[in-house]
């Protein structure tokens, strides 16, 4: 029985994968000697040495290009992009090369590659180091998209990611790195496309991801305790593949749906889920799907500003009450 932080789970998950499979190696900036800027890769260099834990120059295109090429030969690289915002500097490699090459080659090329990256706000880092970019990957055919909300999910989903034959973008939430969990087994495996029920309830279904899943869970606890509302909370865990069955089933039961996402408003994953729910559950819906999102602004830096921009537990509670009890 060990207490693990989310950040420790990352390094443990990578270490476990590297112990099991000599084909797995790890590449990134400042990841080795220093253990990563979020200290999420501490100990890897010491255990696996420079050949398998590679400190790279500030060359995100070259990092992902090399990881892709290596994966094409059957190796299983894990590449770090320090902040998800930096995906923008290597977006061609991600969206045009890694995602499309299998299809364009008619299946001749397989790319078993994991890109892990620190995502999301809450650290007062400003607009270029705080974005929630799961939707950037979700919109590109050929990418699998993972965003764990707990240490156990980090372990179980990283295990699956490393063993998956397709490219996976693994979004770790910066504001969850310090979160802890008691685990009696760390060798976990969680299949992709399986939402996790964080809270049971029959009045409404709240659908979240990563930090927003945890906040939705807290909101559900408050709603239950103080407002006698029973909210079911689904943590999607992976956007691609998507657990549409669980979503449909739950909405058909509760009749009310709410998505809670950290993405800015336009074209976030919540829009996709909302459109799916409307398409598949229309006759069972008691009202429109509500989308809670970050407003459509770049993220401000000052604490009071950032705190009031990203959806909070209070906001979720209030929106649920409005929805259930009528405005």
């Amino acid at each position: 029985m060990a207490q693990l932080t989310y950040r420790e789970s990352v390094s443990l998950a990578i270490a476990q994968a590297m112990r099991k499979d000599p084909k797995v190696f790890f590449i990134g900036e400042d990841v080795g000697a220093a253990g990563g800027v979020f200290k999420a890769t501490v100990g890897l260099l010491e255990e696996f040495g420079k050949d398998r834990v590679m400190d790279a120059p500030i060359s995100e295109q070259a990092i992902l290009g090399a990881a892709m090429g290596a994966a094409m030969t059957g190796l299983r690289p894990i590449a770090e992009i320090m902040f998800s915002d930096f995906l923008a500097v290597c977006w061609d490699i991600v969206a045009n090369q890694i995602a499309k090459t299998r299809y364009m080659s008619d299946g001749q090329i397989t790319i078993p590659l994991v890109i892990r990256t620190a995502n999301g706000g809450g650290s007062k880092f400003g607009a270029q180091h705080s974005q929630s970019l799961e939707n950037w990957s979700m919109m590109i055919p050929g990418l699998k998209v993972v965003a764990p909300s707990s240490p156990a999910d980090v372990l179980g989903l990283m295990n699956t990611a490393v063993n998956d034959p397709d490219p996976v973008i693994f979004y770790e939430h910066k504001s969850l790195y310090a979160s802890k969990q008691e685990l009696d087994n760390t060798d976990l495996s969680i299949p992709f496309g399986q939402a996790n029920i964080l809270h049971e309830g029959s009045d409404i279904t709240i659908i979240g991801l990563a930090l927003m899943a945890q906040r939705s869970k807290k909101a559900a606890e408050i709603l239950k305790e103080k407002h006698d509302i029973n909210a079911k909370v689904l943590d999607l865990r992976t956007l691609v593949p998507l657990d549409l069955q669980t979503i449909k089933k739950s909405i058909n039961e509760t009749g009310f749906a709410m998505t809670v996402e950290e993405n800015p408003r336009l074209c976030g994953w919540g829009a996709e889920i909302s459109s799916l729910i409307t398409e598949h559950c229309f006759s069972n819906l008691k009202g429109p799907v509500t989308r809670i999102t970050t407003p459509h602004v770049p993220l401000p830096s000052a604490d009071i500003l950032e705190d009031n921009t990203i959806p909070s537990v209070d906001l979720i509670v209030n929106e649920v009450i409005k929805k259930i009890k009528g405005e």
């Binding site: 070259a62 030969t73 364009m104 001749q108 998956d164 691609v240």
Partner: protein, 334 residues
């Protein structure tokens, strides 16, 4: 008659080079014909005039080596031994195409032959080629990776990142810049801060400056062999700038009018790699009949392959939905 007493290349390799270049030339010409017959849709970028480069590497490389090329990659693909009908079929979008029409002319891929893809967005494949080279180093195996690209590509960021990484990790890779003097329609000298877009930057990565006449198959072959050997022996990357010229426009739609007539004429009449190599073979005392037998053989091969690809069916539309994922399908939900 030329003195060949000290010849390092030898007749066998020379005939291979001859056969290889001819094949590349004739298939590209056939591609042009098929385009005029409206049998090739989309775009296509011919390497007519640049055959000595892909050809020399094709002869110098071994099975198992990796090559990466651009949208102008029909020749480079054929040079690794891919079938002519696989290439022409792909250009025509037929089932016999290397990727059954899913990739198209700009993305020719034939992994069995080491053709690790053709890349249509400038720069990316230099970084990807580092990856197969890294894998060889990681696995302690001896394959060499070769990455072809154009002069225009030397001005994009990925070029810089890839070269630096290749050098610091001493990867077994050869970067080959085919300097045909133009990007699409713009002269490379108009947009580049140095005279030799690749070679003058070699020192920025502690690499040797290598410039070679890319239209001289022998020189190309020697340069290719040396760089491949260096990489194979674990002595790191090379950057080669091969001077050449494309005979036709940038792509099918381009008549190439931005180039001075004299310049075009000079390259076509005086510097054609194939015309000149034929002369050299004769100078080297190789029998005219041997030379023309090869010509006839290749012509026939190309004609036969053309017929095969023309009669190959168009792909089934259910191909649209295959191979997004390694499980063969495209579903994104349960």
């Amino acid at each position: 008659m030329v003195d060949i007493s000290n010849d390092d290349i030898g007749e066998i390799n020379r005939l291979k080079l001859w056969e290889m270049m001819l094949k590349l030339r004739l298939v590209e010409k056939k591609a042009y014909d098929l385009f005029l017959q409206n049998l090739i849709k989309g775009t296509s970028h011919l390497a007519l005039g640049q055959e000595a480069i892909a050809g020399a590497f094709g002869v110098a490389l071994q099975e198992g080596d990796y090559t990466f090329c651009t949208y102008r990659g029909h020749a480079h693909t054929l040079a690794r031994g891919s079938s002519i009908e696989g290439v022409l079929g792909e250009l025509m979008g037929r089932q016999c195409g290397l990727m059954k029409g899913k990739g198209g002319s700009m993305h020719l891929t034939d992994v069995d032959k080491g053709v690790m893809g053709s890349y249509a967005i400038i720069g990316a494949h230099l970084t990807i080629a580092n990856g197969t080279a890294l894998a060889s180093k990681y696995n302690k195996t001896k394959e060499v990776s070769v990455c072809f690209f154009g002069d225009g590509t030397t001005n994009i960021g990925a070029f810089h990142e890839a070269l630096n990484m290749a050098k610091i990790w001493d990867l077994p890779i050869v970067f080959v810049c085919e300097n045909n003097l133009y990007m699409e329609y713009t002269a490379i000298s108009d947009v580049t801060a140095v005279e030799h877009p690749a070679a003058d930057r070699a020192s920025a990565y502690s690499l040797e400056k290598i410039i070679v006449d890319g239209n001289d198959a022998d020189e190309m072959f020697r340069t290719a062999q040396a760089a491949i050997q260096k990489a194979r022996e674990g002595n790191g990357p090379s950057l080669i700038e091969a001077k050449t010229y494309r005979h036709s426009g940038h792509s099918r739609a381009d008549p190439g009018k931005y180039r001075p007539d004299e310049e075009v004429k000079d390259w076509l009449e005086n510097k054609d790699p194939i015309t000149n190599y034929r002369k050299r073979l004769l100078d080297y005392n190789i029998d005219e009949k041997v030379i023309s037998d090869i010509e006839n053989k290749i012509k026939q091969e190309v004609e036969e392959a053309t017929e095969i690809s023309k009669s190959s069916p168009i792909p089934d539309t259910k191909e649209i939905f295959t191979d997004v994922w390694a499980d063969g399908g495209y579903e994104w939900h349960n």
